[in-house]
Symmetry: C7
Amino acid sequence: MGITIEPLGARVLVRPLEGEEKTSGGILLPETAREKPQQGIIEAVGDEEEMTTDLKVGDRVIFPKYTGTEIKLDGVDYLIMDESDILARIKE
Amino acid sequence: MGITIEPLGARVLVRPLEGEEKTSGGILLPETAREKPQQGIIEAVGDEEEMTTDLKVGDRVIFPKYTGTEIKLDGVDYLIMDESDILARIKE
Amino acid sequence: MGITIEPLGARVLVRPLEGEEKTSGGILLPETAREKPQQGIIEAVGDEEEMTTDLKVGDRVIFPKYTGTEIKLDGVDYLIMDESDILARIKE
Amino acid sequence: MGITIEPLGARVLVRPLEGEEKTSGGILLPETAREKPQQGIIEAVGDEEEMTTDLKVGDRVIFPKYTGTEIKLDGVDYLIMDESDILARIKE
Amino acid sequence: MGITIEPLGARVLVRPLEGEEKTSGGILLPETAREKPQQGIIEAVGDEEEMTTDLKVGDRVIFPKYTGTEIKLDGVDYLIMDESDILARIKE
Amino acid sequence: MGITIEPLGARVLVRPLEGEEKTSGGILLPETAREKPQQGIIEAVGDEEEMTTDLKVGDRVIFPKYTGTEIKLDGVDYLIMDESDILARIKE
Amino acid sequence: MGITIEPLGARVLVRPLEGEEKTSGGILLPETAREKPQQGIIEAVGDEEEMTTDLKVGDRVIFPKYTGTEIKLDGVDYLIMDESDILARIKE
């Protein structure tokens, strides 16, 4: 399908990982009294001149739960959020 | 009709898409517990020297619901909002 | 009458348009749940070195309702507000 | 009497106008639901290097009510306030 | 006694004036609904490179009531406060 | 195991020390009415160009309790937090 | 004992003075309705490039009560706080 979503400014488009996909690799993001994290895959990045990280499409990242704005495209849920909301990148 | 609305500073004029027009293209903006997004078309842009994006008239964009100030011109609803409120551009 | 009001800094003096005068030209500013806009005419501008727009005396502008400070001069109501409070200029 | 009050930084000393003195010249500052303005005369200005306006002693100015700190000198009430609190200068 | 108090950064040490001493010179600081001012004498100034005023030891100043931190030295009350809290200097 | 967590921006990954491990070395972090501190070991640091400290992997550090976002990797709890949340480094 | 605590950034490590030690020298820090001050000795300073004062180990200082994070080392209580929280230095 020919639709692409281009984040504006220093924003990224993230596909959140759910359930089994999320625990593969041995990382578990516990739901405790602290700020809750979530995993996802970077699907698009915004304006390179405004971004300060080198986040790239395909990066597996951790971000706080309830961050960003939800978009559903062809039945898939995405999140648009500020680059600075991404806490860490996971490398395997 | 000879009336044009010129947004000031880093603002844009947006015509929000409603109903069927909004779901064409396979994108769906779900109303969940998160921040609610909405689609629209850029109808005018503000001062180019103050704007940091390259948003152009005709761009299809996503922005959080309840953003901006409503204006009705010849029976059509428009929104004036800050350029930085635009989350992403949709390309088909 | 020889009294003039000179806005200080990046402020403008606006004469708000009411009733019929306001709807001429086909623009209607609906009162909904969103931020309420209002129309007016720029009657004086502040310090040009501090202003970032090119707003001029006579410009017809849109600004959020309940913005600015009211002044009554010779029976006419005016508003003093920050230049950045002006959302857009209307050109006919 | 040899006492002078020297405002510090970008502050001004204002003698508020009351009653008849205030309405001379045709300006009326109505008390409505909006921010309430008041008239006064500049009696002293602060550090010229820190001030961004050219407010001078003797200028007749408008400022929001309930702004500044009250001082009484020889039975006369004055207000010390930030230069940026002054909305406009009145010229006759 | 050999103890001195050296304010750090852009702070000053002030000895507040009370009662009769405070009203000498014809200045009265009324307690009204507005911000309440108080008089005092500058007893020490902080880092000259960080200070933007030329406040000097011995200056008689006005500052808002309930500003600063109280210190009692040899039975005398002092206040340590930010230089920017000083509203005006009184010259006789 | 081949998974590494790379903190983004000026963030660090910390493994908090618990129980006996935490009191070795004579330091005790009391739980009082003040802000509660906790000890940990730096396991990864973020973007060196954005960081202003020289925190290194292996550093033993003190940080306020309830700071950061929890991640569990292979059964071990970690925290991702801003570099500026680290209060002090402990050297033995 | 070979443990040292190195404050990070523009922070200092302070050993608060209590009881008789605190009143020696004639200074008394009254507990009133204002912000409450406390005395202490600087035991360690942070990154010299980030600090703007010349606070040195051994300096006797005044800081607001309930400032900083408590650490207990070998039975002695310390506080880690921002350099800018230190109000003044006491010289005898």
